[in-house]
Point group: C2
Amino acid sequence: MDQLIYAVPAVGVLSLLFAFWKASWVSKQEAGTDEMKEIGRRIQEGAMAFLAREYKVLAIFVVVVAGLLAAANMSGDTQSPLIAVAFILGAIASGLAGYFGMKVATNANVRTTHAAKTGLSPALQVAFSGGAVMGMSVVGLAILGLGGLYILFSGMFSGDNALLTTLNVMTGFSMGASSIALFARVGGGIYTKAADVGADLVGKVEAGLPEDDPRNPAVIADNVGDNVGDVAGMGADLFESFVGAIIGAMVLSLGFAAVKDGDLNPVILPLLIAAAGTVCSMIGTFAVKTKEGGNPQHALDTGAFGAAGVMALVTFGLAKWLWPVAGTQVGSGPVVLWWHVGAATVIGLAVGVAIGLITSYYCSMGKGPVDSIAEQSKTGTATNIIAGLGVGMQSTALPIVMICVGVVAADAVAGLYGVAIAALGMLSTTGIQLAVDAYGPIADNAGGIAEMSHQEEVVRERTDKLDAVGNTTAAIGKGFAIGSAAMTALALFAAFMQQSGIAVIDVSSPLVMAGLFIGGMMPFLFSSMAMKAVGAAAMEMIEEVRRQFREIDGLLEGTAAPDTAKCVDISTSAALKKMMVPGGMAIVTPVVVGFCFGPEALGGVLAGVLVSGVLMAIFMSNAGGAWDNAKKTFESGDGFKFEDGSMGSKGSDAHAASVVGDTVGDPFKDTAGPSLNILVKLMTVVALVIAPLIASDVFTPFLNF
Amino acid sequence: MDQLIYAVPAVGVLSLLFAFWKASWVSKQEAGTDEMKEIGRRIQEGAMAFLAREYKVLAIFVVVVAGLLAAANMSGDTQSPLIAVAFILGAIASGLAGYFGMKVATNANVRTTHAAKTGLSPALQVAFSGGAVMGMSVVGLAILGLGGLYILFSGMFSGDNALLTTLNVMTGFSMGASSIALFARVGGGIYTKAADVGADLVGKVEAGLPEDDPRNPAVIADNVGDNVGDVAGMGADLFESFVGAIIGAMVLSLGFAAVKDGDLNPVILPLLIAAAGTVCSMIGTFAVKTKEGGNPQHALDTGAFGAAGVMALVTFGLAKWLWPVAGTQVGSGPVVLWWHVGAATVIGLAVGVAIGLITSYYCSMGKGPVDSIAEQSKTGTATNIIAGLGVGMQSTALPIVMICVGVVAADAVAGLYGVAIAALGMLSTTGIQLAVDAYGPIADNAGGIAEMSHQEEVVRERTDKLDAVGNTTAAIGKGFAIGSAAMTALALFAAFMQQSGIAVIDVSSPLVMAGLFIGGMMPFLFSSMAMKAVGAAAMEMIEEVRRQFREIDGLLEGTAAPDTAKCVDISTSAALKKMMVPGGMAIVTPVVVGFCFGPEALGGVLAGVLVSGVLMAIFMSNAGGAWDNAKKTFESGDGFKFEDGSMGSKGSDAHAASVVGDTVGDPFKDTAGPSLNILVKLMTVVALVIAPLIASDVFTPFLNF
């Protein structure tokens, strides 16, 4: 029955063909007037230029790290220098996922604008198809890569340690994916926020231009930024999550492999679950359809939740079919029966949905938290900021409780393997989830193009409607991302302990406690670096935009064109320069701690970064989201009704205060916040990769206390 | 040689007599004109009324908890219901420390104003003497209480477990002190910030009154708040720290007690170190003298650092004299020699000073971090806020590294006992350190009284000068507080494991990991509650002050008096109402987790709250301090010179942005931040108190996974 493994890369290829088919369909759609095409072309060029430069920088990094990995893994019973190949492939696959997504997103945006001239339904089709290309490319590349590597290496290695060596090598793929993801998220986040602040602060506020006005020099950079940050960054992010969850579950299945009784090797079950989720996602995309006048939100929900629901059943089916009938166990752990695997998946899905709903509650207009920020805007900026920070901090409580319930429940059902399966269950339908996520920035961009190319009012209205929906679905997706990050990191953490041969990580040991402190501190340091980078890049952008308004005659009158390329270049350079230190820190820290202080101290660092990283990620993302919607509360309809009955509308002092809150929230929710999940997993994967090298039976730490 | 223990309460009595002598001296000073006396009287009345109401509320809490403690400890080999008595005494001593300090501070403020008419030197004498009363009362009560209880109980209990029972009972004293401290800090923090915001936002900004103008209805509440928050809150805080550090070191000495060889029982060494530090502090106060025209900063530094330096030598001397010559060890731990004890003290002092200097760097005018916030104020409020948050997050890195170095070094020297001694070393000169800290709000109040009673310009100048100094010394004190909190909590944590009979707390266990997440989340939830409470109370105050300006005829013209009592009442009620939930949460959480999930899960919670609490405390305190001084940068001298060469002065847009930053920072640095250190220790002490009840050999958790 182990032949089933060949289905995994086959589904990967199928998924990529599906993405290719969708991409061709998008390309064949009409792109509209020459002006629209020109704007679309400039956005695409800027985005592709950024990717090209980013990948060039990262290529050096990949080659150097691959060399070090190969050198460090030349000998050892369970190691192989081939890990370098897996690392490079992981990095390339992550890069490709970003490239495909970006290419089709920048094709789809202008075509969505054009389709919106006809109606809402065709515009939804184009935008969502663009998102689907991204989603299916990401999962297709992931399971093609992992499935292919597993087949290749498990055939290549032999002897008692074959399986262990195969998995050790495959962690290289995960590390490649995670490191590119971190750079892409941080770089993309810096890019998009620098451009955004420049376009808003000088163009909108100082020069009084409307949103997306073509006279604004930073407006192209701003639209490029939406693609660079939200599409490419997000693609690399979810690629990393998906791969990490699969690898984590595979490594934790190792114990079961020993007791395999003629049935399926349990190690490949996570790959099969991922492949099944990919098929469910593909099917789900067909459900995303709406009639003219229908609610696009409903269409997206049907697709995403339908896929997840079917997937839960499929997991039970797969487990029933493939799992040893009498169950199996690791060491003295619980006996895991087939339905335990299904139950763990359901636990994972339930926790993901719960966190998503909580997130959505804390960030939605009309709900208590956002209203409280709007209310406090009445007494000025300071109270708005304090309220937003308070909401963000408070919003950590329930998601953390849900994560704990999920971890303890999944563990009760099937041990740490259950935790890993729960994380994988949440992410199994990443394909369609990411399609919904990536659809957002495409619709956003389409609106920008409609504005810049002076389309009729109704076109912008339709794209705005498209842009506004999908938020709940996206919030659930965020819940899945956070919950799965915590659980995956925990699984990888357990895998790290298993591979480095340590039985316990005792926090009462001073060295572990020191590690816990250092790890806990890293998300704070990392966030401060990301926010500083945004600040510095935004200042540069502000000065350039001011310079252009000052020096280019006729720019404000519309008789001269702005030098948009210069602004694109500023964002690009700043992003590439400033992403190196925080990204590098994430890779270097586990290596230094591991070799200098040993695996226990490193375990402390990982536990610290996990707890503090998840907390800071929730805090920063939700504070940013809540500030954003508090601002929108004043801007939508008649504005916000204060407790004393008076109204605050667009242009009021309270609205002005809320705009400041939104600006503070931007680097929170778009730069630092989303990077932290990756930081946590990257550090854990790096630890996992070096685990055999620092295992207590082969190595003495340089600083031995 | 065990008779030496009687020296401990004797020094405590001496210290209280010293405080009494200083207090009488202050009372005998001239209080100035009738107007000054009247203002001083109103501040004192408001402050005392708050304390009276606060203690009435807390009395109920203390009685209930004491009853529960007695009931829970009725049986058991190492327990005694007398723990309830120790708990009540700890609570009363903490309350007394706050009461004495507040009484003399509100006596000293008006007398400092009067003395400032004569010169700087007499004003320094009065203000510092007031602070010294506070400092010496706190340490006097602590060692009198702990020394007395030790003598009493070690004589009362007999048999093999006598010493263990004595220490278990004494943890009740620490818990009493910590719980009152948390309520006092949170309540005081809410009080002072609500009054501050009300006085500033309406009085200064809306009505255009100068600082401390007598027509401002909230101005008395504001001055009361300085005493309630900074004096009483701080006194309870340091009382708690001092007691916790001593108890932590005593419990960790238990292992040594078994090998006592006719020499001193090592368990009482921590008490002797604390007593010696108290004597050094008393001597240090005599060094605080300045000539007219001299620098008061220099006088304060001489006293504080002189005392700490002498204390380091004294510790070596004490250890040399009393420690077993051949050294001694706990189990298979390191053999601890006499000079190891001294070395651990020096490590503690060095770490404290280093953290203090780092804190001071991040929060001082003219240094990089504060300047960067000032610079970013140029582009508006949003960039000022982002910069401040970034500085706060970044400032966690080095102090955390120092704490880790300290923990690992102290552990290398003398195991966990060394960590506890290092923490105690930092705090041994709490007496004079607290005198310097409490001197600040007295000088601040003196300035307010000078303003309200229309003194000559020179008087205000002198009090401002007094107020401005002592900042570096206070920053070092803050460093000691943070470093010692982390180390004391770690020592108490080790003590908890010892008493609950668990050998390791393995973070890879899902239950422990869940505990780590829950513990890590608590400082976020706690901070959000504190900040929300300030926000709500401030809103109420703002509306009351606006109402008075609107409804009291002649108030702005100075012909009618404001209803200051009403503002005092608003702050008082809000503080008392809003302190209950966050304070209660800190006590209930360890109890619920311990009884439901067992000691390992509780250990996870403690580790989580320790790491995240210390990080958030540093982040919030330093961000607040940096914002404050960024604002002051614009206000002092010619203002701030931007990078482009232009100047930002008082009244500029950049200054306005920095005022918002300062307001955001207020609840950070004065309410949430300083409470977190206590939260961490209180939760650990509660865990230590219930440790014998949930020990794995006597108890099965209700929810057993």
